[in-house]
């Protein structure tokens, strides 16, 4: 018996360092770009975009209800002061417009689902500008807008109702704009005459009351979205814990299917004579690249473990964690140990606020797995040391749950190296069948 001798393509490239999925995706695009003649079929579904609005629809409804209640209160105040208005009709029009906008927002966000399109959002904010203008015209003669404006500060309630369906940033920007407009109007109404008694105070009170609720709500919804987004990412990554010892990533089968299809089309076109033989240099080059890619993907996954995929598929982990596991020993951990290890890493990273991760001293974690050591007197198990070296993680700031998680992975010793936490876990795993 002889081993397939017709195989003569060098395999050195296969043994080249593994590439992350992102690179693989980039390569795919690269191949597609370079080989237009081949019409490589594109993988149809890309990675699922994070649904940052998950669950905020609920908050949006609550915010809308709250806005309606506050609006009723403000309308009551307006009705009470009806007689003191120089032009109550205009002010009433402003209130009608405001109520209409709120109803419009409620309808739009119901039908839009999770996010409102920027156009509708922009139109609503434009409408709010109209409300402010009408209200300011209605009370302009009174001399002190800080005291007399009613519908204009209440426009912020529509912004409050918008937090669930628009990004926090745009709500905050709109609220800031509203505050600015109100301040300018108040200052303009004071122009040419001395500032009325207590005017400054009532101006600050009025503007603060208008601007702060939507801003605070937007900030809270922002944290809410961050928590949910993080949770989503964690849950997606967690699906790797049940993977076999060596696993392919989520995109691997898609990639392989795509390459197989490309090869099929090329071979088919050769067989049917659509592509003339001998191939022109460009097509020959395409065939060679296709073969290389295919070879790479057939081998890929043989040495990659769940931990590698967990890290490369997660935006948060991928940015901060580097893994060194030359013997693919992480694959030997049982699901409980994997889960706990992921959780520990997650807690170490997750506890640091967003800001410090962007700054110069960014949090980083380096995980080194192996080399394996035998356990004396036990043939079926072995010890896999895992060293987690962090940068920018103080021991005192680490969530206590991290240690519980570590304990589930194995016995551990922690120390400080260069002001940052370093944990050495002694992980006992079942020996794999002889290779």
């Amino acid at each position: 018996m002889t081993v397939a001798p017709e195989q003569d393509v060098a395999v050195a490239s296969i043994l080249a360092p593994r590439r992350a999925h992102r690179t693989a995706t980039a390569d795919r695009d690269d191949v597609v770009r370079r080989l237009p003649a081949l019409r490589l079929p594109r993988a149809e579904a890309g990675p699922r975009p994070a649904r940052t609005s998950l669950g905020t629809g609920f908050l949006g409804i609550a915010a809308t209800i709250m806005a309606v209640l506050l609006l009723c209160f403000d309308i009551g105040r307006f009705a009470f002061e009806w007689r003191s208005y120089p032009a109550p009709g205009l002010a009433a029009l402003a209130w009608l417009l405001l109520a209409g906008l709120l109803v419009g927002l409620a309808f739009a966000s119901r039908s839009a689902g999770d996010t409102l399109s920027p156009w509708i959002g922009g139109a609503l904010v434009g409408g709010l500008g109209g409300v402010v203008a009408l209200d300011a015209l209605a009370v302009w003669g009174g001399g002190d807008l800080a005291r007399d404006l009613t519908a204009a500060p209440a426009t912020a309630l529509v912004l409050l109702a918008m937090v669930g369906v628009r990004s926090s940033r745009s709500v905050i920007l709109a609220a800031g704009g509203l505050g600015l407009v109100l301040a300018v109007l108040v200052l303009a109404s004071w122009a040419g005459s001395p500032v009325p008694e207590g005017g400054l105070e009532s101006a600050v009170a009025m503007i603060g009351r208008a601007v702060l609720p939507p801003v605070i709500a937007a900030l809270i919804v922002h944290s809410f979205r961050r928590i949910v987004g993080r949770e989503l990412e964690r849950v997606l990554v967690q699906s790797t814990v049940s993977a076999p010892r060596f696993a392919v990533g989520m995109l691997a089968s898609e990639e392989l299917a795509r390459l197989d299809l490309a090869a099929e089309q090329l071979l088919d076109s050769v067989a049917t004579g659509r592509t003339r033989l001998p191939l022109n240099p460009a097509s020959a080059q395409a065939a060679a690249e296709l073969a290389t890619e295919l070879r790479l993907h057939l081998i890929e996954g043989r040495r990659q473990t769940w931990l590698y995929h967990a890290i490369s598929e997660s935006e948060l982990l991928g940015r901060a964690v580097t893994l060194s596991d030359p013997e693919s020993l992480a694959g030997l951990l049982d699901p409980k140990q994997r889960d706990a290890l992921l959780q520990a890493v997650w807690l170490m990273l997750g506890d640091t606020p967003e800001r410090s991760r962007r700054s110069a001293t960014r949090v980083a974690i380096e995980i080194t797995v192996g080399p394996a050591k035998p356990v004396e007197g036990k043939a079926k198990t072995m010890r896999v040391p895992i060293v987690i070296q962090t940068t920018g993680v103080a021991r005192s700031r680490v969530d206590p749950a991290t240690w519980d998680a570590m304990r589930k992975v194995g016995r551990h010793i922690d120390s400080q190296r260069g002001g940052s936490l370093c944990v050495e876990i002694d992980c006992v795993v079942e020996k794999p069948a002889e290779r």
């Binding site: 018996m1 397939a4 669950g55 207590g198 600050v204 989520m250 089968s253 392989l256 067989a271 065939a287």
Partner: protein, 402 residues
């Protein structure tokens, strides 16, 4: 679940801190702008600073002490402001007592009771014990409001805004908490879907990677094409391409994970049949298939092997690959297979008298042998050994533990 509860607690704490601190700052700003004298402000400052400190701590820890401290310090600040307005510290602050509260002072007090103090309410909704604290704290706050605004025209407004602030923030806490738990449930169902998606993807990749011999020939043909088909007749190359395209189409269209290996069995590239549960049949079908392809296989030893279906599959696949290699490369039309089956191991000896080869000369990364035979067996704890030399035939020993 525990994790998400922790996240919820943190979200509520941070929200309470944000609302509380903002209100505290606004209240102080109103005092500054509202014409308070500097000593009066200086007197109030420590109270506000302590209040802000308690609010900051409230956002950092889970302990119930800090919301309570926030409420107590906030109420102390309100009472202090009322005393200043009543002229209790006239000698030092220069503020004369007035019957009616000055508006800025009243506003600041309202902001404190309905915002800075009420912020603690966000945190007092998450357990029954805390709700009791909440009710008590609200009662105390209302009493303080009624007492400090007693006899004022603003009493109604102050009481109303305090009630509105507390109820609004309690509702906000409850909504945030419910919303987060709701989102967490949805996230975990997405996680379940993702897990099965990953498994499906894994299976599909394994199916395709498992079609190794097929890929071997596809790669070979692609390589030929890449060299512009030099040295091969066009017809032969075209026919080969057609065969490969058909195999790939079968791979694409077949649904079950292993059927691809058995699918093209009538072709040049057929490997073993899809394993059935009956081992006797399986060995026989392997034999028959190679007979059709022109390789006479003589069987010795056990006529059936008993292995769990999964292992049997792989064992037969590896055996099929061995015979396929014999058929293609040995140059002889006959092979011997000896199966031994003892308590611990199933062993197959595949022997031919063909041209042989130098095992050491085979590059380590060859797909054919290493991937299709060795990998299949080692994945289940078995192994494969090759004994061969140029010109003196080949023997392969396949071993699978039970």
């Amino acid at each position: 679940m525990e994790r998400i509860l922790k996240q919820r607690d943190r979200l509520l704490a941070e929200s309470a801190r944000l609302i509380g601190l903002t209100s505290t700052v606004v209240a102080f700003l109103l005092l500054v702008l509202g014409g308070m004298t500097l000593p009066a402000l200086l007197l109030a400052l420590p109270f506000f600073a302590l209040l802000a400190g308690a609010q900051v701590r409230m956002g950092q820890t889970k302990a119930v002490e800090w919301p309570i401290a926030t409420i107590v310090l906030g109420l102390a600040a309100v009472i202090l402001l009322r005393c200043e307005a009543a002229g209790a510290f006239t000698g030092w602050t220069g503020l004369a007592g007035t019957a009616e509260l000055p508006l800025p002072l009243a506003d600041a007090m309202r902001v404190l009771t309905s915002g800075a103090i009420a912020a603690a309410a966000v945190l007092l909704t998450i357990s029954l014990g805390r709700m009791l604290v909440l009710v008590g704290a609200f009662a105390v706050t209302m009493i303080v409001v009624v007492v400090v605004f007693a006899g004022q025209t603003l009493l109604g407004l102050a009481a109303l805004s305090t009630i509105a602030g507390w109820s609004g923030l309690v509702a906000a806490g409850a909504v945030l908490s419910a919303g987060l738990l709701r989102a967490a449930r949805r996230v975990s169902s997405i996680g379940r879907a993702h897990r099965s998606e990953r498994q499906a993807s894994e299976t599909e990749a394994q199916r395709r990677q498992g079609a190794r011999l097929l890929h071997d020939t596809v790669l070979a043909t692609l390589t030929l094409l890449a060299h512009s088909g030099v040295g091969v007749s066009r017809d032969a190359l075209r026919r080969q391409a057609g065969d490969d395209a058909r195999l790939l189409r079968q791979l694409r269209l077949s649904a079950s994970p292993l059927s691809v290996v058995s699918g093209p069995s009538a072709d040049d590239e057929g490997t073993s049949d899809g394993a059935t549960a009956d081992p006797g049949d399986s060995l026989e079908s392997v034999r028959q298939r190679f007979e059709r392809l022109g390789l006479e296989v003589s069987w010795h030893g056990a006529t059936s092997v008993s292995l769990p279906p999964q292992k049997l599959d792989r064992f037969l696949l590896a055996l099929g690959e061995c015979l396929e290699n014999v058929r293609r490369h040995s140059g002889v039309k006959e092979a011997h297979v000896t199966i031994t089956d003892d308590e611990t191991t199933v062993r197959a000896l595949v022997t031919d008298n063909g041209v042989g080869f130098e095992p050491a000369a085979v590059p380590a990364g060859k797909l054919g042998y290493r991937e299709s035979i060795v990998a299949r067996l080692t994945e289940m704890g078995g192994n494969a050994r090759v004994f061969s030399a140029q010109g003196s035939g080949t023997t392969v020993v396949l071993e699978v533990p039970r």
